[in-house]
Amino acid sequence: MVRARKKSGKHAKIIDNIWGWVFSAPLLIGLTLFLFIPLGIAFYYSFTNIGVGEGYSIDNFTWNNFDNYATVFTDKMFARSLLNALINCIGVPIGMVIALMLATFLVNNKKGSTLFRVIYYIPTICGSAVIAYIWKWLYSGDGMVNNFIEAIFKTQIDLTGGIYFMPAMIVMGIWSGYGTSVLLLYAQLKNIPHSLYEAASIDGAGGFRKFISITVPGVMPTIFFILITGVSGSFQDFARFNIMASSPWSDYCAMPAYFVYSLTNDLRFGLGCAYGVVLGAIITVIFIAQEIIKRRFNKNA
């Protein structure tokens, strides 16, 4: 009887496992077909000269060892684009702090919070290209921003290129990205037990102390999530830069993802894949570093 029950239990477990695989299958099939296999192929191509153009061929591409990677690692403009991407990351913590302040404000002021959450989220639901065109108009010579600058400083500045381009893009990035952060942080803030704040109040803690000791640790998982996705997104930022930059290859405007796009359009897939692999590796390293910091933080907490 016991044996039969055991057998039945084992059988049920197998059935459960099968069901588990069945439920996961759509996602796994999609990931395999459209992510893992293309990633593997791209990695393989990054060691070949597959592509078209001078020195390339379509049907008889050959293995060219690390030539593509040598090109990537000696490309000063690519290095500069990585620096630009790093500068672009400055907007992530700034945006997060603004989002945290707004989310805290919304939690503490329930009246109209739904309306404000909708308003904050509007930039997120607009396509990045739409936002980029709106901001390009704002930043143009006869746009609102330059009119304002001209009224104060009696001169216009070029916000679509040159030294002011990256600060202008950071401002735009913060504006277009904080909507999601506000919603995520708002949801997390609502999950923090109110009793903790009450206990802290009884112990005599002030508002700032409560914010640092209760609110921040309470939303830390979300903060890390925003940082990871934000930094990764900043390194892959492309569409809005492509639209906004007056000259995408200028030192002030170049972004790493543009190299992959441009080489694909040029049908030079091998070299484009190498740039993509290197960019992916850099983002992975940043992700791992952030994960390590997060674990240490959690451990200390």
Binding site: F23, A25, E54, W137, G141, L267
Partner: protein, 518 residues
Amino acid sequence: MKKAKFLSLIACLFMLTGCYDSYRFQFISYPSVDNPDGDISTNVISVGNSQTSEDDPESGGGGDSVYDKIFAKYDALPWEYNGGQTSITMAHWNDNGVAVETAVVNALLKGFNHRYPEIQVKVTYYPDYEGSYGTNLYAGTACDVILVPDGAFTKWGATGRLKDLQSLIDSSEILNTETIFDTALTRYQLNPVTKRAGSGNQLALPKDIGPQVMYYNRDIIDDLNEYASKNGLSAIDYPPNDRIMTMTEATNWWIKVKDYSRAAGYGSNFYPVTGIGPEGLVWSAGGDFLNANRDGFPGDTKGLEIGYKYIVDAYYDYEILPHRNVIGDKTGCSFFLEKSCASFISGRSDVSSLRGSKINWDIAYVPSFDNGEYGVSNANHAKNTFSGSVGYAIYSGVQATKLEAAWKLVEYIASKEGQEILSATGYQIPVYEDLAKDPDVIQREIDGGLSEESYMIFVESAASQSYGLWQYRASIEWKEKTYDKFSENLLHSDANIRKNYPVTSFLNDVRNEIGRYL
């Protein structure tokens, strides 16, 4: 429990179907030859189902229509096709607005279906066509007939997936490529060994040729002359339409327009001209951007120095060109239409926009350097700028049963009848020099508001203006990552940065970096 699992499975399958559909949608956005129906905007066009009866020459309703006149003119040609009833696919761009493209293609296909009613053409319009359609070619999923912008021709040709048309051209009784503008025909030739354009296999035939001219606003000149006469100043003449102005003449003209317009209250955001590029300046000053083999920096940089020096001076010394911060995303034409400039340099395609406006405009040749001015001693005065063009090619993987039909379409577009229909749309001039000078074509241009002299500027410019830098090599990155990149500081709005970065330093930077991209 079992019921819950069953329902979950159904939900899962539903999701899977949804996933499949979403992926399928991505696939069908880019149709293959085997699946021509899977597209985003397909029009099945044939005579009788896409035009009104009034326009339809088959209906007999428009006895003296433009179509009938054109058809009658070429009825004697052997419009033969033996491939039977078939349908072919055609890839097209919608970069200039799908409505305009559709109108032009419909006009063309109306003529095509009149000659070849057995062949149905399914046209698909693609966004970001020039940037992305090369991957379709590469992947072997291209349409039977492909629009080939000259900017993409070299790299698309290098895929080996464009059919060599030479034998078909040689056996054609419809085409006579002898009188096609050389500048239009040779840009679709590719050397199979060097993969350079300009000579070699004929992989496409031109649909159009878009020479550049200088458009100017006659009313503004008249207004400034009224101001001049009131203030005892010398008048501004209209630019000549019988010769190319020298840069000295043109600069004086633009400066005079600037001075008068500012004095007359047009404001500091009004400019005499937009659209001056370095190409024509460098070429006409006797220089070039690469060496003769196009595999290195040129040995003689005098033309480059003169050309780029002029651009810098035009912005900051003569103050005749608007900085990019002023013009922003606007085209020269839209800047001109809002009366922010007196003249602009651009291609033929802007004629349609200007004809629809209330501006009293005319055209002149694009000015260029001549010997004895600005230190030029080796001038190429006629090479004042480049022209643009698009052509049509046949995908090399076209099914054998559809090859004749595909060729008939490409042949028709490049034929004199096809060209005359296209020119009648008002968007282009014919690619045949003799047809461009045909009295019927000239009369249509006059009816459209251009004088014969002005129209001939387009024709003469088409004969002399060749392809642009984009066709020097398969990739344009040598220009974008050197000349364009370093010109950022050369033309910087900060005077201190410009002062520390003269043209010689700019060219040294280009020289040092360009080898990486060649």
